[in-house]
């Protein structure tokens, strides 16, 4: 593969490279033991699949052209930037390892002993907000707990008061007067950090563009500023800038305050929200990845071969389809729960058990959701098999497998792609509902559904505990909205009926 081809897809091709580099640095620098959870492996497979698909489509005009259209779509690119930020966080959270146990004067044997807790790269990056746990609820930017406690004074008298937080605003001597000026000062600092990161990214983009187009940097900068570039770089960079600002604020304010408050057991809500990203993404993507082979294979086979095969496959998906989805999912998850409760020896640690449950949930969601795509593909294959070029190939004695691969598959590719992208947001939303019902991810796993579930009971409290709900809402809403807007752009670009208009 040439360097030129790599440069053409800087975003896509740099993702796996970055992943490998981060993984290697993490493992070798700390002497940690790497852990491959089931869903991690699937995430790597997914990233690989996307890269292969990107390479294939870059050499085929009928696939490259729609992408060119998407790249010029303003709303589509804006949401793609947001999605990529989520994906980056999710990938950082998909590299797991165990840190070596810190023992003073360790012997050679002790050095190979590792901690029981499985961590990810993201965990390490956000260490301050991960380990700074309070006693219980505290509001965003609070310096005192949300609930009163009886405190014994030195002179023996007792008083009910709101105790100071252990970490949130702990550096302030007099929080009542200093807090707001301190937050303002730190915010300015955070904005500055964000701006520095942003300008680094902008410079990088400018240089790559200049190299690609063999123009000088200032000409490229002028073109972007005026908004006359074909790809809406001005909008993309503005979105990146906004993300950088958030990042900068998080870097500076995160270790000093609980930006989004703490939950019942005192854990930082921002940390929970960040950790939930991986859960949401895994459910949204892996369920589709798992069901895709079945749906594509069975759908095309039913439509192409017809006859008894068609009858069997149609019967199969009508039957599965007639069971209300949520009930089938609930029943399957209940059964998996029973199985896991009776076979506890299969899983080494809690993280592995929770991950296995996430994996099974993806499989179940995949099994219940392949029917729609299968039916679409069957109908399309039925149509294509009567077209002249397929009939001609059959007359020439081309094998069925070759006809499917060379003629049917390229003609249904757009349907598959649109279905995959459209399914994503629905699956992310479904996770929250399933976790609420109690058949979603493991209760110990961070997910937006579990956050909502935990916070829902606090609605009755007075004053109300709202920050967990708000955090879950914002993080979920941004992801689903971006996914919906992006899927619209993909559909507009790939659907031949919409393209004509």
């Amino acid at each position: 593969m040439s360097v030129k081809l790599l440069l053409r897809h800087p975003l896509i091709s740099s993702l796996p490279i970055a992943l490998v580099v981060i993984w290697a640095i993490g493992i070798f620098a700390s002497g940690a033991q790497s852990v491959f959870l089931w869903t991690d492996v699937l995430v790597y497979i997914l990233v690989l699949t996307i890269c292969v698909f990107a390479l294939i489509s870059s050499s085929r005009e009928h696939l490259r052209d729609p992408w060119r259209q998407i790249v010029q779509h303003k709303l589509g690119m804006l949401s793609l930037v947001v999605l990529l930020v989520y994906v980056l966080i999710g990938l950082l959270d998909s590299v797991h390892f165990r840190l070596p146990l810190v023992v003073e004067n360790a012997t050679a044997e002790q050095k190979t002993v590792h901690e029981g807790e499985v961590l990810s790269v993201l965990d390490l990056l956000v260490t301050p907000i991960r380990i700074q746990e309070e006693k219980t609820y505290s509001a965003p930017f609070a310096t005192h707990l949300h609930t009163t406690e009886t405190i014994e004074r030195p002179d023996g008298s007792r008083e009910r008061t709101y105790p100071r937080l252990e970490y949130g605003g702990a550096h302030l001597e007099n929080p009542r007067t200093d807090k707001y000026s301190d937050i303002a000062m730190n915010s300015v600092l955070g904005v500055l950090v964000g701006l520095i990161i942003w300008s680094a990214i902008v410079l990088m983009v400018l240089f790559i563009l200049a190299m690609q187009k063999q123009a000088n940097v200032s000409a490229i900068a002028k073109m972007i500023l005026s908004g006359s570039s074909l790809v809406p770089w001005r909008l993309i960079l503005a979105t990146v800038g906004f993300m950088c600002l958030l990042l900068g604020l998080m870097i500076i304010l995160g270790p000093k305050y609980h930006i989004l408050g703490t939950d019942k057991v005192g854990q930082d809500v921002l940390f929970q929200s960040l950790k939930s990203i991986r859960t949401g993404l895994v459910i949204g993507t892996l369920s589709t990845l798992i069901m895709l082979p079945f749906a594509v294979l069975l759908g095309i086979m039913a439509g192409y071969f017809r006859g008894w095969m068609d009858d069997v496959i149609q019967y199969l998906y009508t039957t599965l389809n007639s069971i209300p989805g949520i009930l089938l999912i609930a029943a399957s998850v209940l059964m998996i729960q029973v199985y896991m409760a009776n076979n506890p020896q299969m899983f080494e640690s809690d993280a592995e058990r929770a991950d296995a449950r996430l994996f099974f949930l993806c499989v179940i969601l995949g099994i219940t959701s392949w029917t729609g795509l299968c039916r679409l593909l069957r109908g399309e294959a039925l149509k294509i098999r009567t077209v002249d070029f397929v009939q001609a190939s059959q007359a020439f004695g081309v094998s069925n497998f070759k006809i499917i691969w060379r003629h049917i598959q390229p003609n249904v590719m757009h349907i598959i792609l649109i279905a995959v992208v459209l399914d994503f947001s629905g699956l992310v939303l479904a996770e929250a509902v399933l976790s609420y019902i109690g058949v979603g991810v493991d209760p110990t796993m961070h997910s937006w559904g579990n956050m909502i579930n935990g916070a829902r009971l606090e609605m009755a409290r007075d004053p109300i505990v709202w920050w967990s709900l708000l955090a879950a809402f914002i993080f979920m809403f941004a992801l689903v909205l971006a996914a919906n807007l992006f899927s619209d752009a993909v559909r507009d670009a790939f659907d031949p009926r919409l393209r004509k208009q």
């Binding site: 019967y315 209300p324 199985y339 947001s425 609605m459």
Partner: protein, 324 residues
């Protein structure tokens, strides 16, 4: 017509047998009744006797599909498969794992579900069509563009946040209606908020979907003819396009009609309404497999009824389609 319906009902039988087999496999083969007993009793109380007793109380102590010890026809009938799965065809749901009569519970709990589901369905359908028509009337103007964006925004909010937000705003801040609860004697007071939330949470998806249907109709030849003969745009839209657009909308709506019985899972659970939706959730929560099994079967029967109704409704609203 009658012939056709009979044939469709006949076709439904193998599908229901399939559903029955799937539930049987899921509930009794993937995990044996012994596993379920151990799960229910908890790790501490498991003794062979207590497992046997648990199975005996619920009739799970029979062989799975073939009873070699019984005589004659009972070789097949005196089994878990026959007793707990085949009986579902006669709508004999048996007893729940907690010992209650499931058939009686369903007949009691379907009314609160219907009290919510029918108004949500009717009001939702009407308001979605209205909004879709407005957006279609102003197509390719700013109202259309921003209307669609608003729909996407509304679609992207999880249904649970509509409920939580509605409960907080109307129930807690404004004190207009009780936050949750249900009372058959005072239905309106308790049902108005869930119905409102049910309608609002469906507006985004519904409006966008119906808008595409209307826009597809607007492209067609008869609309051009209507405009060419000088009809005003409003008349074209509300008379010609609406009538023809109603065909896919109505037939799409008929499918879900029977499923209204099942109620809405999260809406009923959040508002503490004793309908079939919260019945299912409670059963999932307490791991009552008998109830979940019954609801799976009931749901698929209702879905198949919906499919048959859809086919019939096509012939009623669209005279071009004839059933044979």
């Amino acid at each position: 017509m009658l012939n056709y319906i009979l044939r469709r009902v006949f076709y439904a039988i193998p599908i229901l047998i399939g559903v029955n087999l799937i539930t049987f496999l899921l509930f009794f083969v993937v995990n044996t009744p012994d596993d379920m007993a151990r799960m229910h009793l908890g790790v501490k109380h498991v003794t062979p006797e207590s497992v046997e007793q648990w199975k005996d109380e619920r009739g799970y102590n029979k062989p799975l599909a073939f009873n070699a010890e019984a005589a004659g026809l009972e070789k097949v009938t005196d089994t878990i498969f026959y007793q707990n799965s085949v009986n579902l065809f006669a709508f004999e749901f048996g007893r729940s794992d907690a010992g209650r009569d499931i058939g009686y519970d369903i007949s009691q709990r379907m009314w609160p579900s219907l009290i919510l589901a029918i108004p949500i369905f009717v009001i939702g359908l009407l308001s979605n069509i209205t909004f879709a028509l407005i957006v279609a009337f102003f197509r390719s103007s700013y109202i259309d563009v921003w209307g669609v964006v608003l729909c996407v925004v509304l679609m992207s909010i999880s249904g649970m946040f509509y409920i939580i937000g509605g409960q907080f705003l109307i129930g807690k801040v404004l004190h207009l209606v009780p936050i949750s609860g249900f009372d058959m004697a005072n239905t309106f007071k308790f049902a108005v908020l869930p119905v409102l939330i049910g309608v609002v949470s469906g507006i985004g998806t519904g409006t966008r979907w119906y808008r595409t249907i209307f826009l597809e109709e607007i492209e067609k030849d008869y609309v051009r003819t209507a405009r060419a003969k000088g009809l005003p745009e409003s008349l074209v839209l509300f008379k010609h396009v609406l009538k023809n657009g109603m065909i896919p909308i109505l037939t799409g709506a008929v499918v879900v009609l029977p499923l209204l019985f099942m109620g809405s899972l999260i809406l009923e659970s959040f508002f503490g309404i004793p309908g079939l939706g919260s019945y299912t959730i409670d059963a999932i929560g307490s791991q009552d497999f008998a109830i979940v099994r019954s609801m799976v079967f009931l749901g698929s029967v209702l879905y198949i009824v919906g499919l048959i109704l859809t086919d019939i409704s096509y012939t009623i609203v669209d005279p071009r389609i004839r059933l044979q």
